[in-house]
Amino acid sequence: MSLKPKIALFQCQWCLYSPTDQEWVDSQLPENIHLIKTPCTGRINPLYVLNAVQGGADGVMISGCLPEQCHFKTGNMAARRQLEEFNDFLDYIGYEKSRMRFVWLDLQDRGIIQKRLAQFEKDLEALGQASNLVTRVKVAEGGQNA
């Protein structure tokens, strides 16, 4: 595959303790990775993931805090419950399960996000382009097409 895989990176705004890493994510992400910052991983609506998938993203990465370290107590656990289930559903209809990945970052993990992204990119390259669900249809709240 010549083109680099397109990755939508959903990042909880609290999960990077080190300021240098946060700066890297904010301003130096490679072009094939798109950052969407959310107040908490629990705030990620499955709708966002669905839109990313239908719009042609090859992979979705969700980075949050470790359990017990969530800024909103249980947000990361709520997110995993909700999004894992959604992931299973996507897998069933043809978007491979390994295209969505959770990353839980410890406070002391400096420079880990870069490595995790690189690894994810490599794994996605092996999987090839995602084409099954790329309908290019925008989906809005409540199930209506926007």
Binding site: A8, A52, G55, Q82, G142
Partner: protein
């Protein structure tokens, strides 16, 4: 200059509220502040250590208007790190309770319920980490006496989990982070990549 009696002082009031008992044990080592994510990500002037001192030395006005009082989300990263075992978010919540009891408003945003569409399914109640949402019976225009979700502004920390969980888009947070904006942002990237 008038002197307050000791029992009326802010420090004693904070100590009387569960969670605030250990207030006077702080020896100002600064561990909580350097561990704090709000300080790191949101507001460099945020400082739990300073708030504890303000409360301990009865700077009531300063404590009640300090951002620290209102921004803490009780994530409790600082609690296990504190060498004096002070439940810092407990102290902050106690100060906040006293401020609310004086009729002060949370200057930051809280979740809002659209009562015309809420179906009182209770998903948001389940998902809220702060038990800030309850289902209450209420008279709603055009719908009569029905049960709807209602948010306690003293407890809401604006995490938005209710927004993500709601299936009828009836509970939402403020303007700076909403679904439409996220989707617009996402699609502008997806479309430029596709082209």
């Amino acid at each position: 200059m008038s002197h307050q009696t000791l029992s009326d002082s802010l420090a004693e009031q904070v100590k009387a509220i569960p969670g605030g008992e250990m207030l006077m044990m702080c020896f100002s080592c600064g561990t909580c502040t350097s561990k704090c994510m709000i300080q790191e990500k949101l507001e460099p002037n945020y400082n739990p250590r300073r708030l504890i001192r303000e409360a301990a030395f009865n700077f009531e006005e300063t404590a009640f208007t300090d951002q620290t009082t209102w921004l803490c989300s009780a994530c409790d990263l600082c609690y296990p790190a504190c060498p004096q075992k002070i439940h810092i978010s407990g102290v902050i919540t106690a100060v906040k309770q006293l401020a609310v009891a004086q009729g002060r408003q949370n200057p930051y945003q809280v979740a809002k319920v659209d009562e015309s569409t809420c179906v009182a399914c209770g998903l948001c109640v389940q998902v809220c980490p702060y038990q800030a949402i309850t289902l209450t019976e209420k008279k709603v225009p055009f719908r009569g006496m029905i049960s709807v979700a209602s948010v306690d502004p003293g407890k809401c920390m604006a995490c938005g989990m209710c927004n993500a969980a709601c299936r009828s888009t009836s509970i939402r947070l403020s303007q700076d982070f909403n679904d439409n904006r996220v989707l617009e942002n996402l699609w502008s990237w997806l479309e430029s990549e596709a082209a």
